[in-house]
C-alpha cells in the first residue's frame, strides 16, 4: 500500500511521530474498528479515529438523534435530529475524512447478531449506555478473542479499561455481575457532564490507536478512574480472576446471554 500525496499531507502531523511514520499510517488505514454506540463515548472516539485514518469504522446504534443528545454527542448536529445516529455519524465522519469506510449498523445488538458483526473487526470499542449490552459485548469479545476498549461514564465519573481476551482481565473479572435493574440509574436518569464523555471517549480512541500502532502500553489489567470535579485520575490494578465466569479456569458462562432475557432473569430474582 502506497500513501497518496493527499494522505501524506492529511496525516503529516502523526506520520512525523517516530513511533508512527508511514508504516504506522498504513497500519491505521488497514485497521477495522467497531464502535458500539454513537453516543457520548462513541462520538469523540469516532471523530478521532476517523480523523486519524482508521480505514474501516463500523458503528452500531439503533437510536435516532434527539436534541438532548447534542450536549455531549458531538458527532451529530441540529441538521440530523430525527435521523438514525449511525447515518448522522457516517455523514459527519466522511465529511472530515472521505478515506474512511464507515459501515453503519442501525440495529440493537443481541446474542443472535453480535458475533456476526464483530467477527470482521480487529478491535471493538464499547460506548454503549446499559449493562446488558456491556456484558454481551464483553462476553462476545472474550469468545471471539477481540480486543475491547471499555469505557463507562456516570455523572462526574468515568472509567476505562482495555481487555485483551485471555491475556488480561475481562470486564467480568472486574465486575462479575451487573447490578440488578433499577439499582444504578442510567445517564438518561442521572445526568452527565458532556466533557466527561469527551474525556473517556477520547481515552478509548487513544487506546485503539496505541493498539493498532503497537506502541506504548494499553490499559490492560488496569482500570483508569476519572473524577471530573477534582480532575482526579487514578489507576487500579485489575487481575485476571481465576473464578471469572467467562474467562476463568472453569467458566460457567459458555454461550452469550441475550440481554433482554438477562434483564428478565435478573428481575425474577
Amino acid at each position: 500500500m502506497k500513501l497518496r500525496d493527499d494522505q501524506i499531507e492529511r496525516y503529516s502531523r502523526q506520520i512525523l511521530l517516530p513511533a508512527v511514520g508511514g508504516k504506522g499510517q498504513e497500519k491505521l488505514l488497514n485497521a477495522k474498528v467497531l464502535i458500539i454506540g454513537a453516543g457520548g463515548l462513541g462520538s469523540p472516539c469516532a471523530l478521532y479515529l476517523a480523523s486519524a485514518g482508521i480505514g474501516t469504522l463500523g458503528i452500531v446504534d439503533s437510536d435516532k438523534v434527539e436534541l438532548n443528545n447534542l450536549q455531549r454527542q458531538i458527532v451529530h448536529s441540529v441538521n440530523t435530529v430525527g435521523s438514525p445516529k449511525v447515518d448522522s455519524a457516517k455523514d459527519r465522519l466522511n465529511a472530515i475524512n472521505p478515506d474512511v469506510k464507515v459501515i453503519p449498523y442501525n440495529i440493537r445488538l443481541t446474542s443472535a447478531n453480535i458475533l456476526d458483526i464483530i467477527k470482521d473487526y480487529d478491535m471493538v470499542v464499547d460506548g454503549s449506555d446499559n449493562f446488558p449490552t456491556r456484558y454481551l459485548v464483553n462476553d462476545a469479545c472474550v469468545f471471539f478473542n477481540k480486543p475491547l476498549s471499555h469505557g463507562g461514564i456516570f455523572r462526574f465519573d468515568g472509567q476505562a479499561i482495555t481487555i485483551l481476551p485471555h491475556k488480561s482481565a475481562c470486564y467480568r473479572c472486574l465486575f462479575s455481575e451487573p447490578p440488578p435493574p433499577g439499582l444504578v440509574p442510567s445517564c438518561q436518569e442521572a445526568g452527565i457532564l458532556g466533557a466527561v464523555a469527551g474525556i473517556i471517549g477520547t481515552i478509548q480512541a487513544n487506546e485503539v490507536l496505541k493498539y493498532v500502532l503497537g506502541i506504548g502500553e494499553v490499559l490492560a489489567g488496569k482500570l483508569l478512574v476519572f473524577n471530573a470535579l477534582d480532575s482526579f485520575f487514578r489507576q487500579v490494578k485489575v487481575s485476571r480472576d481465576p473464578k471469572c465466569p467467562v474467562c476463568g479456569e472453569n467458566p460457567s458462562i459458555t454461550k452469550l446471554i441475550d440481554y433482554e432475557q438477562f434483564c428478565h432473569l435478573r428481575r425474577k430474582e
Binding site: 454503549s128 465519573d157 444504578v184 440509574p185 445517564c187 464523555a197 478512574v225 487500579v236 490494578k237
Partner: protein
C-alpha cells in the same frame, strides 16, 4: 489510624456529597462499619443481605483489589487510601 476513603458519585448521596471521607479502622470490615456509623444506609449499598461486598462494587486499598488480598479482612494502616469503585454503564 486515619485512612482516606474515596466515595464514588453514586454513593455520595449518602455521604452528604462528600467525595472523600477520613476515618479509622484496622481492616476493611471495620472501615465499612465506620462508614455506616457516620452515614447510615451506606453499608446496604456496598454489601448484600449477607454482608458480602456486592459483585458490581470493588474496593481497592491503594491500587490493590481486596478480592485478591484478604477480602473484607484486608488490613489497613495509617495513610492508606481506600477507593470504592462501582460498575458504571453510561455512555
Amino acid at each position: 489510624m486515619p485512612i482516606t476513603v474515596r466515595i464514588p458519585t453514586p454513593l455520595q448521596k449518602v455521604t452528604q456529597n462528600k467525595a472523600e471521607v477520613v476515618l479509622s479502622g484496622s481492616n476493611i470490615r471495620e472501615m465499612i462499619d465506620g462508614l455506616e456509623r457516620n452515614f447510615p444506609g451506606i453499608k446496604e449499598r456496598i454489601c448484600d443481605e449477607k454482608g458480602k461486598i456486592r459483585r458490581f462494587i470493588n474496593i481497592y486499598v491503594n491500587e490493590e483489589d481486596i478480592r485478591f488480598l484478604k477480602q473484607d479482612q484486608t488490613s489497613l494502616k495509617d495513610g492508606d487510601e481506600v477507593s470504592i469503585i462501582p460498575a458504571i454503564a453510561g455512555g
